[in-house]
Symmetry: C2
Subunit: 572 residues, 2 copies
């Protein structure tokens, strides 16, 4: 019996699989660091004691041994990496468990996309645990590739890797008591239900908490975070590529509330993940801001483990999983070695190997861009002289609705780069319907050419913005030809291309090349005149019809406040 | 939809069922006390805000509102009270949830006894949540009334009121990896498994933790408690009638480890419960020893709620159960009002009423003392001159084995009060088999008469100790005649009697009379010469064959070290 062997090793009567000696145990519960050796048996910690022996033994020369890091909330799709490449990368940074919300792939592929991630998670050297995405699709004002029914959600809830319901983003709907949402919540009664409620305060926040929401990772200041803790909700301090909140929140931390605070990355770009790291980057940031290393570590180990009820991990103790990392400094947290369930999975920041073999995906994952080019018509016939134009707000997900005069030639409304007025098209790409939403955007700065992307929240249709129809078509066709991705084109020439063949969201390449290609498309867009820091990230939210004020989907212009389609041309 | 009403009240748009105004909310997570009003809807807290309105409103005149108290580990049977009377009593002390281990009644009635408690729990004003008793019966060296099979344990595990496996007392068996115990533990894989491991330290403690045990409430000093925390086990600070550990452990408490520390009573006598209280007594003790009131309260609310995964309670926040108590001082914690799920269940220390109606029990509960008097033979024929005698150690559960000369008259070995040598009989009372273990005990001090009890851990047979057979029989028959209990007799006269007709363990009377009768039997025993502080409690452990060194069961003398039956008379 496996357990009997574990107990024999614990008692000191049998050889362990692995013994690490001459190390400093970081005890995140008791906030202590003490010298010991550790014995591992069948993937579990059997004993922490000087007096251990095993088949394999290593001297750690006084280094620190910490529990494996847990990322409390992440979207793997944001890194644009194949799950195996994502795993290889983050384990190098000491992350042994990630709580992923597969919200993007679910919008493209429905439950099949989530089952793909579950399956991919079985062979990688990382525990990929999932929350079930809420609100897929977000609305019926766009055509998504996939939808999750309550039956799908129930089915997913039975998987052991599923730890709860993912960020419930339709917080106004929850607060208002919308039946569809309450039904969804009732499927997760008594389980973890993560929240997402930027800016929500006062009695509406209390209603959101009363509905059973148990966390929020969208806090941008200590007032918001304190209000959530007082409502009995846990708080995740986030530091991602698009949202830098950690340093603004640290002053809230005290010995009383700290148990309910965890760390998360949410959305990381491939470049940031490559150069800054994952949760280890958050630890370094927090420590450099004055947080004690053990406290910082606790927010990345025991606290998220307790939030997600992962009783088998989160600290180093007999019977827990041997998810462990070796560092020689508790302030810079650069993992020298990373063990997952007692197996060495990374050394010197590099995963032992890319487990999971060659990333050959099921055919349906790599064939998600289906466009009816014959039916596609990009012309906008002038039906007035003034238009509703999407006004970009730099570094924000929100837009404003601007009323601008149209640039009309031969009865057709065209882009006018001199006035920073660009044409925008959202081409339905899931069903090949030929449906296409057309509109105009101001604030991108592009002087010529076009940029296209199949990363377009949440429905991820093919979004193109450009100064002329030829460039628009070139960029769109370039992206479609590789099964999805991001491209910049000028006239008939493709200037830069990042292929994302997996669901149109993720690459099958290594992180170094993904980050480099992402950099190339960004630079190409900026060379054509775009003034934004992250042109493709900003663009990806111009189609998200649940964030104010004016957005474009494949069905047309959406006025978010009223949740209605509105005409491009303003009457009178 | 019920939830929609809750949310409307939370938003401030509908009337609550109950509003308490002008109060100080004690926020045990954030360690804050702040003025507010609270709105309750359908038994849940809907909002905490000055701006509430409801069908019923009360002004609390600035009193403090705390979460309902949770007793992390208690044996209801120890109080000798009917569950309804127990509930009535403890809610008066602010306890709204008790985690009860029905270990005693299970040894008498098996699963039927536990189902009885579950049923009783449905009608009382207290949440009685259960852990499934481990090791029923403790050994096969005694005849118990009930046994729990793995099938019973599995069945019980499916009840929503069952929160885990109860204190796993056979810790040497767990450490050694006994298959029966590992099978039992595997039924609760990933669930709460409470421990019980007095004195266990070092590698054996690590093995016990590695087996999946998640708590211990038997610590008597800070070294033991610290060792458990380091092993990833939670610690309950206990203060019961027989074990006063709280004050010895408080110095261990610090802001880091406190989240894993809870308070429990374990075993409370009716007298102590009546005069000192329940968990409220522990709060007062801790506070008088210098612990901050909010920290003390947290160990009796949020911490045990998190340990037992009771996500619906443990603090005052929207969506949590309205288990609340009103006190006018955070140092003396005398509940003025107690609400359970929003309903007033006690005021001024008294339950609103004894809910659960008249305590009419199923017939099998009141007919558990079945003795075959005809086959009973109390004579001990001398088979040698020197005997193994159970040596009482005052205030301890352990005994010593003393070798003493027998007092032989006409070939029969008799009690000899002059040498403090008393006869002890353990009469099988579950099956009417007539089986009876006979032996002698030293250290009780009884000069004449006899004392009898059906409370005799863990098998709860009829245990009698006396100076002569006539008194022994009188006491035994007196107890049997009322369906179980405790009695003191002299010759043919019953001097004092505490009837415990429910399973021979619990009374159907009110606590005042139970405590008073318990006092009477104690005094009667002391008047006959007994020198012990708690004669019946000490006596009740003389038959417990798992605690060293020499014990007597209905099957005979047990030498605990070897777990063997041994002869009364020493050879040679």
């Amino acid at each position: 019996m496996q357990k009997q062997r574990l107990l024999a090793v614990a008692r000191g009567e049998g050889p362990a699989d692995l013994v690490l000696r001459n190390l400093q145990v970081v005890d995140v519960l008791n906030h202590e660091v003490y010298p010991a050796a550790i014995a591992v048996c069948d993937g579990l910690i059997a004993a922490i004691d000087e007096n251990c022996f095993g088949y394999e033994e290593h001297d750690l020369e006084g280094d620190f041994l910490c529990p494996g890091l847990i990322d409390a909330h992440a979207h793997i799709e944001s890194t644009m990496l194949h799950p195996a490449e994502y795993a290889r990368t983050v384990v190098g940074h000491g992350v042994t468990t990630v709580i992923a919300n597969p919200h993007e792939i679910a919008n493209v592929l429905g439950i099949e996309g989530i089952l793909y991630l579950l399956k991919a998670g079985e062979v990688v050297p990382l525990d990929i645990l999932l929350t079930v995405p809420s609100s897929v699709p977000a609305t019926n004002l766009a055509t998504s590739g996939g939808a999750l029914s309550n039956k799908d959600i129930e089915r997913l809830g039975n998987y052991p890797q599923v730890v709860g319901l993912g960020e419930v983003m339709d917080f106004p709907g929850v607060v208002a008591g919308k039946e569809r949402l309450l039904n969804e919540l009732s499927l997760f009664q008594g389980q973890v239900v993560d929240g997402h409620c930027p800016g929500l305060m006062g009695r509406d926040l209390q209603a959101y908490a009363a509905a059973g929401i148990s966390s929020d990772h969208e806090c941008v200041d200590t007032d918001e975070a304190a209000a959530r803790l007082r409502c009995g909700m846990k708080v995740f301090f986030r530091e991602g590529s698009a949202a830098h909140n950690l340093l603004d929140l640290l002053s809230l931390l005290n010995p009383h509330n700290e148990r309910w605070i965890s760390l998360c990355t949410d959305d990381l770009s491939p470049g940031d993940l490559l150069t800054k790291g994952s949760i280890d980057h958050l630890l370094r940031l927090a420590i450099s801001a004055g947080v004690s290393p053990v406290t910082a570590l606790r927010m990345a180990t025991l606290n998220p483990a307790e939030h997600y009820r992962l009783w088998d991990r989160g600290l180093l103790a007999p019977g827990r999983r041997a998810d462990m990392l070796v560092v020689d400094s508790l302030s810079d947290f650069k993992p020298k070695k990373v063990y997952r369930a007692g197996k060495l999975v990374a050394a010197k920041g590099q995963a032992a190997d890319r487990t999971g073999g060659e990333p050959r995906e099921p055919a349906n994952l790599e064939n998600t861009v289906r466009i009816n080019w014959d039916r596609l018509d990009l012309r906008v016939l002038a039906q007035g002289t003034r238009m509703r134009v999407i006004g970009v707000v730099p570094d924000q997900l929100t837009t404003v609705c601007r009323i601008m005069p149209a640039h009309i030639i031969d009865g057709e409304s065209l882009a006018c780069p001199e006035r920073d007025l660009l044409k925008m098209a959202v081409i339905e790409r899931h069903r090949g319907s030929g449906q296409c939403g057309l509109g105009f955007v101001a604030g991108m700065g592009l002087q010529r050419g076009a940029m296209a992307s199949t990363v377009a929240h949440d429905h991820h249709n093919l979004l193109v913005i450009g100064a002329d129809d030829r460039s628009i078509l070139t960029a769109a066709r370039a992206v479609a030809a590789v099964g999805g991705g991001q491209a910049v084109a000028l006239d008939n020439e493709v200037l830069a291309l990042l292929p994302l063949p997996i669901a149109g969201l993720m690459s099958d390449d290594v992180i170094e090349r993904v980050a480099s290609s992402q950099n190339e498309v960004t630079l190409a867009a900026q060379r054509l005149g775009c003034r934004l820091n992250e042109p493709f990230m900003t663009m990806s939210f111009l189609a998200l019809e649940v964030i104010p004020e004016l957005k474009l989907t494949d069905r047309g212009l959406v006025q978010v406040r009223t949740m209605e389609l509105v005409s491009l041309f303003v009457e009178n």
